[in-house]
């Protein structure tokens, strides 16, 4: 479904992604793990054309999308849930969700949009309770649900999730991961998940990639990456001592 080849992305002089290649098959949940500054967020930003790549190829459903602007990417079916949620705080929950369907209003899909809104409320009953409330007054977990809900309003085929567990209590994280799993099962949504919480992400994902200082150093089945000691040491926070004693 998605295929990246030799992506190089820069922030000014900083070479953030070095020759990165990656792919996702339809219906797959793939996680991208790595330390802070490894280039995980840069990769998502490159995909959604917020920070376009300087070189390399991006193919989505067989079509080259490397030079398209962000709105076209959304239209093609790639939705990005950014790091730190980035909800529109002064707007109501429902307005936030409707903005997620912004591109669809032009196409007179009003009835379908209403139905999707219902679907989001089924998925996250908490959002229905707070539909009139200002987004800025929601808890961190609720804001994350709102950010995911907003992305789903564009009816994505591929969902890009940037650190959805950041700053959330373990129980809330569990709930959000359950929703991701349900989305794949029920709607066949393909997910590219960037996570700090490597252990939880690898438990959820089918496959994973490990980025290190802008370079891809591992690709593999998620359960096997969990067994990789380099992954354990660097990204699962296991102490050297613990590994020695095992």
């Amino acid at each position: 479904m998605l295929r990246l080849k030799n992506i190089n992305t820069y922030y000014g002089q900083v070479h953030a992604l070095r020759n990165v290649s990656l792919h996702l098959a339809k219906g797959e949940i793939v996680t991208l793990i790595g330390a802070n500054g490894a280039g995980k967020t840069s990769l998502l930003n490159t995909l959604s054309a917020i920070t376009p790549a300087r070189s390399g190829e991006i193919h989505f459903q067989g079509e080259g999308i490397g030079t398209l602007p962000p709105d076209r990417i959304v239209e093609l079916g790639i939705s990005h849930v950014p790091e730190g949620r980035q909800v529109f705080k002064p707007l109501s929950v429902e307005d936030n969700l409707e903005l997620g369907a912004y591109l669809r209003y032009r196409k007179k899909e009003k009835i379908a949009i209403r139905q999707d809104l219902e679907m989001i409320y089924e998925l996250f009953p908490r959002l229905r309770e707070r539909r009139k409330q200002m987004a800025g007054t929601l808890s961190g977990g609720e804001q994350q649900m709102l950010a995911i809900g907003r992305a789903l309003m564009a009816r994505p085929k591929l969902l890009l999730l940037d650190e959805p567990s950041m700053g959330l209590a373990p129980l809330v994280v569990q709930e959000i991961f359950r929703v991701i799993e349900n989305l794949r099962r029920e709607k066949g949504t393909t997910v590219l998940l960037v996570e700090q919480n490597a252990k939880a992400a690898l438990a959820l994902a089918d496959r994973g990639y490990v980025l290190e200082t802008g370079k891809m150093i591992l690709e593999g089945v998620a359960s096997e990456l969990l067994e990789n000691r380099e992954v354990q040491r660097a990204y699962l926070g296991k102490e050297k001592k613990e590994i020695w004693e095992r």
């Binding site: 030799n6 020759n19 891809m216 150093i217 591992l218 690709e219 593999g220 067994e227």
Partner: protein
């Protein structure tokens, strides 16, 4: 028709396979460059970085790795992970010099087991089979590789290890072994022994043979199949790369399917080191794509073969490698003609009554190269009459000369005269370099 163990990877559309290969190649290069001093130095010498590789075609920019690199970095110098992450150490048999040491992480062992499960399944082995493993359990990778593969499939493993042919046969009879694992020459040793003691192979439960560890010919396959009443399949691997599991026959036995999602294969001219077009005969060069403990870039296997990219009726999309024709080090240049021991083998087996045990001796008389083939005598080719004996030798010599393009002298020697090395017969003795 037999099942396919890993449909996703064995039947991948070419385009998807190439994307996966590129991703894994790039990750392997990054890890090897970061963690292996030898590779960092090789890259620096060529003035390249891992990120200079943008496509599979650019593989040719990369340096080769040879057995000498492994020897120079003996024992652990080429490992890409600290030793505490290595759960297994094996060593090559050292048939051609000092041994080389290889290591596996937990994941490498898992990968290995599944690769062996692939070719065992392709050969027709299932969880209902009883697998007798006659490779020696030890530093050599053969026994353990097949052992893990069989267990992964869920078959019953009998780890008889090597030697004691009578006991092997007794176990085969009593335990109702259905699969025989070993070297092809050992399969013939078993057949010979059964013949000697009057055991009818038809009374055994044996149905599949998985043979590897040495090059063998199609004629030898036919001989094993007709004498043991089994389907004799070939598989290929080398300890430096992972052990058995690199490639194996499917039910069509028309080339071994190479695990291309795990290894990248090239064929080069062993003299000029240039990559040859698909289908050419040359030396196989392999790059590991998933190995954690010992990633190898463009490893020169020294094995001579060719790759067939045409589709196989079995449904697997992976490239098929032909039976190895011998080793590039074994390639003999006799009177300016390239001669592979396997060609001599083909001729010998085509002649009825000739057994697999033979040795090729090359010597020099003045400036002239001399090619001599010693054959261990058997009842079939032992004649009371000197005249018939001589006629037989002349016939073999004539056939050899016409196949090889150079003349050869054939000698008959007593049974057991030709030395065996860890179950592998020593096929070639080249006396020209010495003294």
């Amino acid at each position: 028709m037999s099942r396919i163990w890993d449909v996703e990877h064995e039947c991948m559309p070419r385009e998807e396979l190439e994307q996966l290969q590129l991703e894994r190649l790039q990750a392997t290069l990054n890890r090897a460059y970061k963690n292996v001093t030898c590779y960092r130095n090789k890259f620096k010498e060529l003035g390249i970085l891992p990120e200079d590789i943008h496509s599979l075609a650019e593989l040719t920019k990369l340096p080769f790795t040879t057995k000498d690199d492994l020897r120079l970095n003996y024992p652990y110098g080429m490992f890409a992970v600290p030793l505490r992450e290595v759960v297994r150490i094996h060593a090559s048999s050292g048939t051609t010099g000092k041994a080389t040491v290889v290591g596996y992480t937990k994941n490498d062992i898992k990968t290995w087991s599944n690769l062996v499960a692939r070719f065992m399944t392709a050969a027709g082995v299932t969880h209902d089979d009883v697998v007798q493993i006659t490779f020696g359990y030890g530093l050599f990778t053969g026994a353990f590789g097949l052992h893990y593969g069989a267990e992964t499939i869920g078959a019953s493993v009998i780890p008889t290890s090597s030697g004691n042919t009578d006991k092997q046969i007794a176990i085969m009879q009593d335990y109702r072994s259905t699969v025989l694992v070993g070297t092809p020459s050992y399969a013939l040793t078993i057949a010979d022994r059964m013949e000697q003691v009057g055991i009818d192979p038809k009374t055994l439960a044996l149905r599949v043979g998985l043979f590897g560890g040495e090059p063998w010919s199609e004629a030898m396959r036919r001989e094993i199949e007709s004498r043991l009443f089994i389907s004799a399949t070939d598989n290929y691997g080398l300890s430096e790369i992972i052990g058995p599991g690199v490639a194996g026959d499917c039910s069509y036995k028309d080339g071994m399917h190479l695990a291309e999602d795990t290894f990248l294969a090239e064929i080069i001219d062993p003299e000029s080191c240039r990559v040859l077009p698909p289908g050419s005969v040359g030396e196989l060069v392999l790059t590991t794509l998933t190995k954690e403990a010992l990633p190898l870039i463009r490893y020169r296997t020294r094995d001579i073969t060719s790759l067939d990219y045409s589709p196989c009726p079995c449904g697997r999309t992976t490239v098929r490698m032909k039976k190895t024709m011998g080793r590039s080090d074994d390639m003999l240049i006799i009177k300016g003609v390239n001669v592979f021991p396997s060609q001599i083998e083909e001729v010998l087996f085509a002649i009825e009554g000739c057994r697999p045990h033979y040795q090729i001796v090359v010597d020099k008389k003045g400036a002239m190269d001399l090619l001599e083939v010693d054959i261990e005598v058997t009842e079939n080719i032992f004649f009371d009459e000197m005249k018939r004996q001589r006629r037989f030798l002349e016939m073999v010599e004539k056939k050899l000369t016409s196949t090889l393009g150079v003349g050869a002298t054939v000698r008959l020697v007593e049974p057991g005269r030709i030395p065996r090395h860890e179950g592998k017969a020593v096929r070639v003795v080249d006396k020209r370099q010495k003294g």
